[in-house]
Symmetry: C2
Subunit: 215 residues, 2 copies
Amino acid sequence: MPLPIKISEETFTPRQQAVLTAALDLLVENGDGLTMTAVARRASCSKETLYKWFGDRDGLLTATVQWQAAKVRMPHVDRSHLSAKVLRESLEQFARDLLTTIVGEVSITLNRTAVTHAAQEKDSLGNIVLENGPLAIRRRLKPILEAARDARLLRFNASEDAYRTFFGLVVRDVQIRLLLGDKGLTQSNVEANIEADVKAATDQFLALYGAKANI
Amino acid sequence: MPLPIKISEETFTPRQQAVLTAALDLLVENGDGLTMTAVARRASCSKETLYKWFGDRDGLLTATVQWQAAKVRMPHVDRSHLSAKVLRESLEQFARDLLTTIVGEVSITLNRTAVTHAAQEKDSLGNIVLENGPLAIRRRLKPILEAARDARLLRFNASEDAYRTFFGLVVRDVQIRLLLGDKGLTQSNVEANIEADVKAATDQFLALYGAKANI
DNA sequence: GCGGAACCGTACCGTACGGTACGCCTGCGG
DNA sequence: CCGCAGGCGTACCGTACGGTACGGTTCCGC
């Protein structure tokens, strides 16, 4: 039962969304604690209903991840008015959104769930997370980078490389350390540094790819 | 039963290492397929022995991860003969080792296992992987960076920031995509580009942190 | 050769959980 | 008022798996 790529308002009824919220809460609270019985109890519905709506446990998991992942919003930038200032602000906004998302407990949970899933030869959850995370960023960022190149604000050969460098400069080792549960990297700890990290990453990216006049 | 941080030759008997090898093979082959029965069968030993040696399933998992993670070797660089050329080669070697490791199936499996574990409020495996992965790199790389700064080959304020930038430039989105099972990123696919990526990352790092004469 | 320790293989137990069946209640169209 | 669809709660089933027990075998020290 492959779910549609795009989740619209009517994909799930309000009642179903309440169930998905319960499932997500359980996931966040207690990683693998997503048992059908627990979801049913939390959502005050019967297991039979769960199976009717979502098919099986995997379907529920997929629906939960998909529904939540689609909520990640992405900044929209007007490509037609690019200037050095606008470009920098756009990059900073992307970096800020990316870091803020990655640091969030929901994102950590979803990524962990998808990684766990991927360890079982199933890549559906991983694809959903990728599609709504890194790849969504890439889709939004690449046109901007290319527009900036056209406007002589940036210099690079492949926008793919530029995007991936930006990603690396922003994320660094934060995500993997959070996923691995590094205690030296509390959420609040990272959040406090987001603004500084955003600025540093943007500066570095512009130093590498910016046309000289715009550094 | 906390295991020692450092794994020496005598930590496990050859027979025990054979068991751990079997466990690791099962992990790699089939992510969560690490059942005690499967390990016992694969290693031709009894479950009772497994419990006697490793306490419980978690102990076996921990021993497996720890034993394997400790195998990751790290380049050793002589800090006393730093030149621009030696520095560049050292950085490239670090980048190459890091990428090669990350791309390997064993590393992917270990990281996935540790992430899954971290989703259950247990951070022991995550700590082991961190300790033998990113943190090991950091321990080795930082002194080199600082020596290079002393030799006026690099410029930075905090070596921590420099290290993390290097990590980001090298790893970019490769690891998270591999962990999530991105099919657009096959192992062979990445391996073919390692040398180019190593050079690009090193160039970028030196462009950001190198003293001008050494770019 | 003998006793015991270590270990193999297997049978066994308890539990947790995915999935199903069923009885009951509620709301709604006719 | 009746019938029925949708859904709740619960009991139930089968299985997989962690963990234990036990008989049989090998090997080593004495």
